[in-house]
């Protein structure tokens, strides 16, 4: 008896719900189709897998963007975010990109966290003529722009950072440096960029020593560097190896300045070695020192707002360079959509191309990563204003005024 009653009730309420929602849909659909076009951004991030440490903050920033933008009613258009996880797997990134293009009818694909995934989807986005904004660091993703017309990226390049660092070294009277880096793709990439920059600036690269992420002993290489009679050592690695390399140099009695690449510009660098890395000079992004840069810097309000939003949502002091990569990518896409030359229509193919053209017209756009000036030949669009040098003082990244 009771059973039939319950069943009957469920059936009635289900019927009621379905009819109600279909009426609501029927009313709503033509409504916004008429007055507000929709911008659909597919964000494909490596939330799991090997790059999850980078992907997690990126996903958080995407969610934050979704929360703040999807609900806005003051815009002449609507924003819809489609979120996927590629599991740090390039094959999966490709199939998810296809899905975003064909099923979700996205206008922009924000992908991917890693360089291999970003490289893997290049052909797919080129064939579909859809704008892709990568969050990976390698310059090869966007270069040359003539071959990758639909590909853009947000993180600054090693080259810009190295130019800034080496120019600073030169002003400090440093003539002879040693490279101390990881022997994987990251370290080798840094060395390859360092060689031409050193030649250009006029600094001699007198020694190169390598180590691996899993090494237990960094002293022998550090001894070698010490004996090479260098003015400074440049470490291109990520924590904890960057910390251990730094400590090894100090242990063997090397007293000269020690510089670090952007790989060390995360809080873990200080957390691991604590007082042992005091005095290290680290190339950082604007976000690391956002409360210290000049108040008239166009980046400052953008950074402060992002840091406030992000810390407000995820806890104080959580804001992280990688969260900035996806945040900039999402906002660049919105900015391009807002500034399209053509009228906003529901024509998918035309809108995709219009967004790409508008991306290339981005001028003096302040993001978390720096000021973007994207052109048809430069699809990164950042300049030296995206890089800063800092020194570790009292466990903090303290901006070096130049």
């Amino acid at each position: 008896m009771t059973k039939t009653v319950t069943r009957g009730r469920i059936a009635t309420s289900l019927c009621g719900f379905i009819s109600a929602s279909s009426i609501a849909l029927a009313c709503a659909q033509p409504g916004f189709a008429q007055d507000k076009p929709e911008l659909r951004i597919a964000a494909i991030v490596s939330v799991t897998g090997a790059a999850s440490a980078l992907g997690a903050p990126e996903r958080s920033a995407v969610e934050l963007f979704d929360k703040t933008w999807s609900t806005r009613t003051d815009l002449p258009f609507k924003v819809k975010v489609i979120s996927y996880d590629d599991g740090s797997d390039p094959t999966k990134a490709v199939s998810l990109t296809r899905k975003a293009i064909e099923e979700d009818k996205a206008h922009v694909v924000v992908c991917c966290t890693t360089t291999p995934s970003s490289m893997a989807i290049l052909d797919t986005v080129k064939a579909a003529k859809i704008t892709m904004i990568s969050m990976a660091s390698n310059a090869a993703i966007v270069e040359p722009a003539s071959e990758r017309p639909f590909t853009f990226k947000t993180p600054t390049s090693d080259k810009l950072m190295l130019q800034r660092t080496l120019n600073y070294m030169k002003r400090q009277g440093i003539k002879k440096i040693g490279f101390f880096g990881l022997e994987d793709a990251y370290g080798e990439g840094g060395l390859k960029e360092l060689q031409p920059v050193a030649k250009e600036v006029g600094i001699e690269l007198a020694a190169t020593e390598r180590f691996a992420r899993q090494d237990t002993n960094f002293t022998p290489q550090a001894l070698r560097l010490k004996q090479a009679g260098l003015d400074a050592v440049y470490i291109h690695a990520i924590p904890p190896s960057a910390d251990l390399a730094h400590e090894a140099l100090k242990r063997v009695g090397y007293t000269g300045p020690i510089y670090h690449g952007a790989g060390s510009s995360i809080n873990a660098f200080v957390d691991i070695a604590k007082a042992n890395v005091e005095g290290a000079i680290v190339g950082v992004g604007a976000l690391n020192v956002y409360d210290q840069i000049a108040t008239d810097n166009p980046l400052r309000p953008v950074l402060a707002k992002f840091a406030e939003l992000y810390d407000g949502a995820y806890g104080k002091g959580k804001v992280d360079l990688f969260a900035g990569q996806s945040w900039d990518a999402m906002l660049l896409a919105v900015n391009a959509y807002q500034h399209m030359a053509e009228a906003k229509t529901d024509d998918l193919a035309a809108t995709r191309i219009a967004i790409k053209n508008a991306m290339e017209q981005t001028r003096e756009w302040p993001g978390v990563n720096g000021v973007f000036n994207v052109t048809p030949t430069d699809h990164l669009g950042l300049d030296k204003r995206s890089t800063f040098l800092s020194q570790i003082k009292g466990g903090r990244f303290v901006l070096i005024e130049e």
Binding site: N217, T219, P220, Q227, P240, A273, K274
Partner: protein, 342 residues
Amino acid sequence: MFDTLLFLLVDGITNGAVYGLVALSLIVIYTVTRVVNIAQGEYVTLGALSFSSALSGSFNLFSWLVAGGLAAFALLDLADRRLLSSVRIRILLIRSVWIAGVLLTAFAAHKFPGSYWLAVLAALAATVSLGTLTYRLTVEPVSGASPIVLLIVSVGVYMVFHGVAVLIWGAEPQSVPPVVDGGVSLGPVFITYQSLWICGFAVLAMAGLYMFSERTLIGQALQATAVNRVGAQLCGIPVRFAGQLSFAIGAGFSAVSGLLLAPLITANYDMGFPIGLKGFVAAALGGIVEYPTALVGVVLVGLTESFSAFQISAFRDVIVFLMVIPILLWRNAVRPPEAHEH
């Protein structure tokens, strides 16, 4: 030049001591169970990580997992119908004390965060128990299989441990404080007290193991099992127990080497594997059976690594692992493999 030499010597020996503990573990396990344990390095990782989380006062999932595993096997043993009730009570008592030991040490470390020796105890109780669990779960069911099967099984164990370490502790490296801060200056060379602890413990462990296997009945039983399994079984030595004990000793030594090494290089989920491999190279010099030759091996590996890193840093691992080839050739010439067992 002399400074450099001294530096390289000291570091080579410190690293050699770490590899030595792992090599020792490998030998104990191989001689008794014939398992070439690829997963040995993972005990280094697990020791370091569980120590680091115990020290920070978090009651880690790892101790729960191990205690759960012990409880499951205790139930399995109790379910055996042929047992006398007195034996059953004894099993019940021993196992409950054991499980309580794992959980209590973890709980004590949780209650007194920052207490160094309690954290060591908690980490050791968990990893040593994990060693016996691993033996029961993966080696015992196939104990009659050929060494190659056992080797492949240990590869599987390695993969599981590696994944579990990431799951429980995440990929971020954790910094670990040393036993005693600071160090001494030996002329121009600064030696941290931690390095001295590592060397000291390695020497103690080796001496202890020697005394144990020469002077105690259990040690003699282990040796007997190592020499001839079937014979030992016929003499009434419980081979199963010997296997568990060898895995426990192996896991314990490796875990200690991990938690002593962690302050020098931070504790992280993939620190163990290369250490395990280098320990293997050293143990290979003694054919994974002779302790004294393996000792020479670890010093050799430690120094080769240190000096090759100084000379050509890009090739240091290549040189260390290439050493296996001359070592094996030398062993074959000096001591041709006999067709032992079966």
